[in-house]
Symmetry: C2
Amino acid sequence: MTVEILCVGTELLLGNVVNTNAAYLAQKCADLGLSCYYQGVVGDNRERLTEAVKLAMSRSDILILSGGLGPTEDDLTKETVASLMGRELMMDEGSRQKIASYFEERGIEATENNWKQALIPEGALILENHNGTAPGMIVKNLDTHVVLLPGPPAELIPMFEESVAPYLSGLQPGVIFSRTVKLCGVPESRVETQIKDLIDAQSNPTIATYAKTGEVHIRVTANAESEKEAKKLIKPVVKELKTRFGYDIYSTEEEVSLEQAVVDLLLANKLTVTCAESCTGGMLSARLINIPGVSEVYKCGYVTYSNKAKRRILGVKKGTLDKYGAVSSQTAGEMAKGAASQAKADVAMAVTGLAGPDGGTEEKPVGLVYIACSVKGKVTVMEFHFQGNREKIRESATTAALMLMRRCMLEYFSKVTFGEQ
Amino acid sequence: MTVEILCVGTELLLGNVVNTNAAYLAQKCADLGLSCYYQGVVGDNRERLTEAVKLAMSRSDILILSGGLGPTEDDLTKETVASLMGRELMMDEGSRQKIASYFEERGIEATENNWKQALIPEGALILENHNGTAPGMIVKNLDTHVVLLPGPPAELIPMFEESVAPYLSGLQPGVIFSRTVKLCGVPESRVETQIKDLIDAQSNPTIATYAKTGEVHIRVTANAESEKEAKKLIKPVVKELKTRFGYDIYSTEEEVSLEQAVVDLLLANKLTVTCAESCTGGMLSARLINIPGVSEVYKCGYVTYSNKAKRRILGVKKGTLDKYGAVSSQTAGEMAKGAASQAKADVAMAVTGLAGPDGGTEEKPVGLVYIACSVKGKVTVMEFHFQGNREKIRESATTAALMLMRRCMLEYFSKVTFGEQ
């Protein structure tokens, strides 16, 4: 079946906001095995909205609209769809009551136009909104299913997960099921080369790669009679991927981020951690601390951007800085050792590099970063060359530090050996 | 004039990437005074691409296409536009030579299909690509200007700034000029209320507000005979905004971020700075260190997530933690004082709060954050209540810390007094 995504909102046409809804909906639809050939954006204008909805309904089986369900006069999505599909708008008592109690709970007076949100095209399926006042809805005729969702991602996403995904998966024969194999420390081109045969031979399950900074995700999606059958189809592919990529895979769980995997390893091995950061300036600590429960393992962090701070706080030797410079394997190693002893932590990470835009030389160009990891006194230092602007280089360095930290812990505790970078 | 944006790429239809190009192009076109009524996304499919380009050309004066200029068989944008406009594709010698030297410089062999990128529809204006091998182009007939840009933002953005913006501004009568007034510490709703009369009365210049985390940007855009005239139209509006918002405006320069404004203040007043972070875990230091040249003022930073670290590194008193808790005005204040004395810095920032998802109580709910700023020993603490998930709360706290830091420095040095938050 084909699906089309149409986002409604002047703020998108003006470029005030980036259209993350379209990317979210597109990915979810791809996961559900639906083919998306068109995405569109149109403003809150009756004529142009009518034209866009009509065109989409003429060429796609499913149309997902986001936005334009608000209480103001500008919000026209529901009215336009109802009129195109020949439906009256009716006051839905359930939705009206929910809006009433929403305002009551917050001690605010509902204004007249708030009740407009309880108007529903007759015969529509109503989708509850637990995070706002605008209910979603699905209106269908013989040819087309039209899904109307509120624009704010905090309302759209839970509504899609809860109500729309089950509805859409019901329209498809069988069940669609995905698993994501997440890798770090392997460039995308190498991942693609290593699984080219699998991608070329794919039919069911399908295999797709997604690149993120310093990571590659491989999504395996199967279509089968039942979830059990789908999982059975996926299993040998995931197993094959595990054989090919081994410990470069940090997780096969959708919700596990690289920092989560790293914190899980720390927790499992009862290891405490500290970070000493120069060019990343706190980004590594910040990512670790985004994981709830990290307090059990995270001791403290040092942002030592200046040479003085590297010496005073971490005890990096003046001779080392003079001889090798702040951006050197030697300094990175001493930073990690110093942080470990200062913080009395089992694992210590250190990052020092040239994030630019100035300060690069032929010998030490912008993008050169040294990352050190000390696990119980065993220090490993790696050299990296990153591309991009200052922010991008720092982000890449942070991800690489998480990758190295994971690798060093695995090598130390599991006697795993990683190949060449 | 009307403009339509059409992004070409299967990766967008699959939701693998978020369409930041559309937002970028939309904002730039709005700045140029062009009306954008439609945005679209279509895949690398000849039939559907033809249909989409045809429709766009029939209803818009300018069509901007991004993507599909690559060397592979899948890349069809140029071919489709040329065929629809009745043009032959010709080998452009200049583009061919640039591709040749691009590969030569990198010591790579160009493959046969790389030369495809030098094929240009006859009569097209060629736009140089300094960041890749695919030249951009503009093809026009009597009714429509079709602009073809490469998909990667690192190629599209500089090409737009350098070649497309001047071309498009040439199509418009007169000159379009914008200025952005950037505020922090004022909620968007209050900004809108305070300038409702200006927005209602707007014609030339126009006024639009853009909300970011903890910030509001007001963009003032004028259309006039010359840049000088446009600036003259903008000046009184910016002056009026300055009168209304005073020191809540941190900059009127496009490229100055809040952290840049803060670092500029530190540099101007020859003040050094340190940060002690609990829930933000390094994010505040990381943002300051994203500014090149910060090394002159940034002394060092401490990530003190645990109570132990707050005591050991910053000297927060056990009694304070026991009596008021880690998330309290008192602890924030002692963290700032401790950091200032440890780092011997003029300005010290401290952040402590509940980022969730667990750990909230009725008295201290998730989202409660205390931020302290010490300027030469004078300590100010503010209490905040942020909404959203863990990441969003931490991001909001970081921006609020920058806002408070700026405010305290201004109050200390310029005897400026800010109103209530």
